[in-house]
């Protein structure tokens, strides 16, 4: 990730520059936490001579840098790294950005107008209710209210009408339908009553309703937009250059100019940019991105190598087969994006309630009208219309977005980042939970567990340290972490590393090596390496990927709550079985040796399922899952596929996540009860012809206040999640 050289090249730089007069680039910054970060980044970058301006957007976690000249953006990226942050250059997606910006400003204007109107109408309504209903003054106030109501009902409420039109086209009436009906019927009835000088005028309540719905929806929208910039993170670095063999030497060319059959060179520690065949005798690759397997894989000449895998040592030649979107990893990401974009938005609970409501209320109104028309036709019209206005479930329309926003903010403070409020509802339908192994259930790092038959002596420790210090192998890193001696042996000679075998060296006349040992580990899985002196085994280190401390208890908790837990891993069956048995999984709950495509298939077979894993190598499975939770790896890539990102690592927050979903749903249900209660009183009053302006004036605000309080009050559990907590990790 730390190589920003591609920002030097003009053709790839073009992909990232913002279309502004001064050269500018936007970065997604991981690790922005507080105001210190904002200042550190802005001031740190402004000290560079050619930086014109640097601005952090705290909510989006983005940083925009304006420069005086075109070159040097790679240095900016490195400077950000030096300041202690991880920058990811964002491609300008100006169309989406502009649309979002325009929409947000438009929304604010609509809210502003309705707010302005509601404040003033309320003042006049108070006067009316207080008795200012003398012939002339009353009419005057009503006309002023109408003047304020008209821009609200036309301009401000426009998004509501658009929603209704869309939902009617999809033949799925949403909660906006009864609301719009109530607004318009209420408006027309009020206008008629105003002219006739008899009956009630609802302009004040209707304006208030529109204002509350618009504001609560805007709050939720802004919270969900927080992760919008992540859609601009490129998962594949298509702008990379490759070294192509031209018959005599290697040329630096860009990826797009490659032809199948070309031969390219890949250096140590580089990501292989293409799918192809290995031409070198053999290579050692980290294929974690495709298999989740953390140990390096050795492949021989002629074998398939895949884009995205990392070459661990040496340099190799690869015959190109495909790259970019055509490569296997490109296909996986492409399918993931396709799946995500085709996911039909869930018809949420509010809308389902709204549908039932609409049919009931309209049915009731029509039924009443038909029966009562025989008694008194004009009164029948009046009462049925009053019913539609007073029985509108409008409080739900603003209480639900509000309680969802609150839950999302609280979760984010805990370090649980939720992309969309619909996730809460989807969580409630989950029966099966699939866990990835490496990094999710385990730490994702090899560690030395024990030595046999004895611990190495201090000389041996220094020897191991010196031998392994030059190796890139995960085993070497684990050994180096484990041994605390820092003195290197000076007189070690003829050091060499044989890929796939081990490291060798000569010290004081004896030939030492560290190779994989055949002795089984006490655990029965993991890796063992032995230190050999002249081919005689001295001691063996047993290494394994440790379970996270919270894994077992969390799994037990989930099982007692009635979830079916399963392991879905790319690792070998043997490893998965061993780990699964240790954690109390049944044999049929273990899926080992699964490619990314297989994982996605298993998920679709077990729907509705949740997938918990690392966002990149499980991306496809996550996109197919009903709900996906990423617990490992970097946030920006993970949140592209996953619905939830848990920043603490490990799975211990998952039971709590289910609890948040459950509790916020019970708040919704409670609000529904309140709302139904008030609405049925309103409906009864309307049908009995008891409607008096003061009734609407009391009932409407009272139900709003009850439902709002209930939404903000939450539940016992939701209250334990603090709103202000420094514990937010990222």
């Amino acid at each position: 990730m730390d190589n920003f050289d591609y920002l030097k090249r003009e053709d790839s730089l073009k992909l990232y520059l913002l279309p502004t007069s001064a050269p500018a680039m936007q970065f997604y910054i991981q690790g922005i936490r507080c105001n210190k970060c904002v200042n550190k980044l802005e001031h740190g970058l402004l000290q560079k001579s050619d930086v014109q301006d640097a601005r952090v957007h705290f909510g989006d976690r983005t940083l925009t840098v304006w420069k005086k000249s075109l070159n040097g953006f790679d240095e900016i990226a490195r400077a950000i790294v030096e300041l202690g942050y991880e920058p990811v250059p964002l491609r300008p997606d100006t169309d989406v950005q502009k649309i979002v910006l325009k929409e947000n400003r438009m929304d604010l204007l609509r809210i502003g107008i309705s707010g302005f109107a509601v404040g003033n109408i309320m003042l006049m309504a108070v006067m009316s209710y207080a008795g200012a209903d003398e012939e002339f003054l009353g009419t005057f106030l009503n006309w002023l209210s109408l003047g304020l109501f008209i821009p609200v009902v036309t301009f401000s409420a426009w998004p509501l009408y658009k929603n209704v039109a869309q939902s009617l086209q999809a033949k799925k009436p949403s909660i906006d339908l009864p609301i719009c009906l109530a607004i318009w019927i209420g408006g027309v009835v009020s206008f008629y009553n105003m002219l006739s000088g008899r009956g009630e005028v609802y302009f004040d309540s209707l304006t208030m309703l529109i204002f509350l719905i618009l504001s609560s929806r805007f709050v939720l929208k802004r919270i969900q937009q927080r992760y919008l910039s992540l859609t601009r993170v490129g998962l594949l670095n298509e702008s990379a250059t490759v070294k192509r063999w031209n018959g005599a030497d290697y040329d630096e060319v860009s990826l797009e100019t490659l032809q199948p059959g070309d031969i390219i060179r890949v250096e140590k520690k580089q990501k292989i940019p293409v799918d192809g065949f290995l031409l070198s005798p053999w290579a050692q690759l980290n294929t974690a991105i495709l298999t989740g397997e953390s140990m390096p894989q050795a492949v021989a000449k002629g074998a398939h190598v895949y884009a995205g895998t990392v070459l661990i040592s040496g340099s190799i030649d690869v015959k190109v087969k495909s790259w970019g979107k055509q490569s296997r990893i490109g296909q996986i990401f492409y399918q993931m994006e396709q799946t995500l974009s085709q996911r039909t938005p869930l018809l949420d609970f509010t809308d389902r309630v709204g549908r039932v409501f609409t049919f009931t209320v309209i049915g009731l109104a029509i039924g009443f009208f038909i029966i009562y028309a025989f008694v008194d036709p004009t009164e029948a019209v009046k009462r049925s219309l009053a019913l539609i206005i007073l029985a509108c479930p409008c409080t739900l329309a603003f209480a639900i977005p509000l309680s969802q926003s609150l839950a999302m903010i609280k979760c984010a403070r805990q370090g649980w980042f939720i992309k969309n409020a619909a996730t809460f509802e989807k969580l409630l339908t989950i029966k099966n939970v699939f866990f990835d192994k490496t990094g999710t259930l385990t730490e994702g790092l090899l560690k030395v567990e024990s030595w046999s038959p004895r611990e190495p002596s201090s000389d041996e420790r220094r020897l191991i340290k010196t031998l392994e210090s030059k190796s890139q192998h995960p085993v070497a890193r684990a050994l180096l972490d484990h041994l605390d001696t820092d003195v290197a042996l000076e007189d070690l000679t003829e050091f060499c590393e044989v890929l796939g075998r081990g490291v060798f060296g000569i010290w004081r006349g004896a030939r030492y090596s560290i190779e994989s040992a055949t002795a089984k580990t006490p655990e029965g899985f993991g890796t063992s390496v032995g230190l050999y002196k002249d081919d005689r085994l001295q001691c063996v280190a047993h290494l394994s990927d440790q379970l996270r401390s919270t894994t077992a208890t969390t799994l037990d908790r989930l099982r007692t709550q009635g979830f079916k837990c399963m392991i879905l891993s790319g690792d070998s069956d043997e490893v998965v079985t061993h780990l699964g048995q240790k954690l109390g999984f049944g044999r049929e709950q273990l899926y080992g040796r699964k490619s990314p495509e297989d994982k996605a298939w298993v998920i679709t077979q077990n729907s509705p399922a949740a997938m918990v894993g690392d966002g990149v190598n499980d991306a496809l499975a996550m996109a197919k899952a009903h709900v996906s939770v990423a617990t490992y790896g970097c946030m920006e890539a993970s949140l592209k596929a996953a619905d939830v990102f848990l920043s603490e690592g490990g799975i211990h927050a998952i039971p709590q996540l289910f609890k948040v979903a459950e509790d916020s749903f019970s708040v919704v249900k409670r609000n529904l009860c309140f709302s139904l209660f008030y609405n049925s009183i309103g409906a009864m009053a309307a049908l009995m012809g008891l409607v008096h302006p003061i009734l609407a004036a009391i009932l409407m605000p009272l139900s709003s206040v009850t439902v709002l309080t209930s939404a903000l009050w939450g539940t016992n559990f939701l209250r334990t999640l603090p709103l202000n907590n420094a514990g937010a990790n990222r």
Binding site: N35, K36, R55, G59, N104, G112, M124
Partner: protein
């Protein structure tokens, strides 16, 4: 009491002027980012250059 027929519209006109101010501020992008300014204000300026001049976009 008749004064109210003058005062009410006058109050509305006054309110409308402030509303125009709100429209202007919104179109100017003052409400685009509500998260960063409250963070930025907490630390002292060191060398706040003429940032507004530079951002011509």
């Amino acid at each position: 009491m008749n004064l109210i027929f003058l005062l009410l519209p006058a109050a509305l006109v006054l309110g409308f002027i402030f509303f125009l101010g709100f429209v202007w501020a919104t179109q100017n992008g003052q409400y685009d980012d509500l998260d960063t300014p409250p963070q930025r204000i907490l630390t002292d300026d060191e060398k706040e250059q003429t940032a507004n001049e530079r951002r011509s976009t």
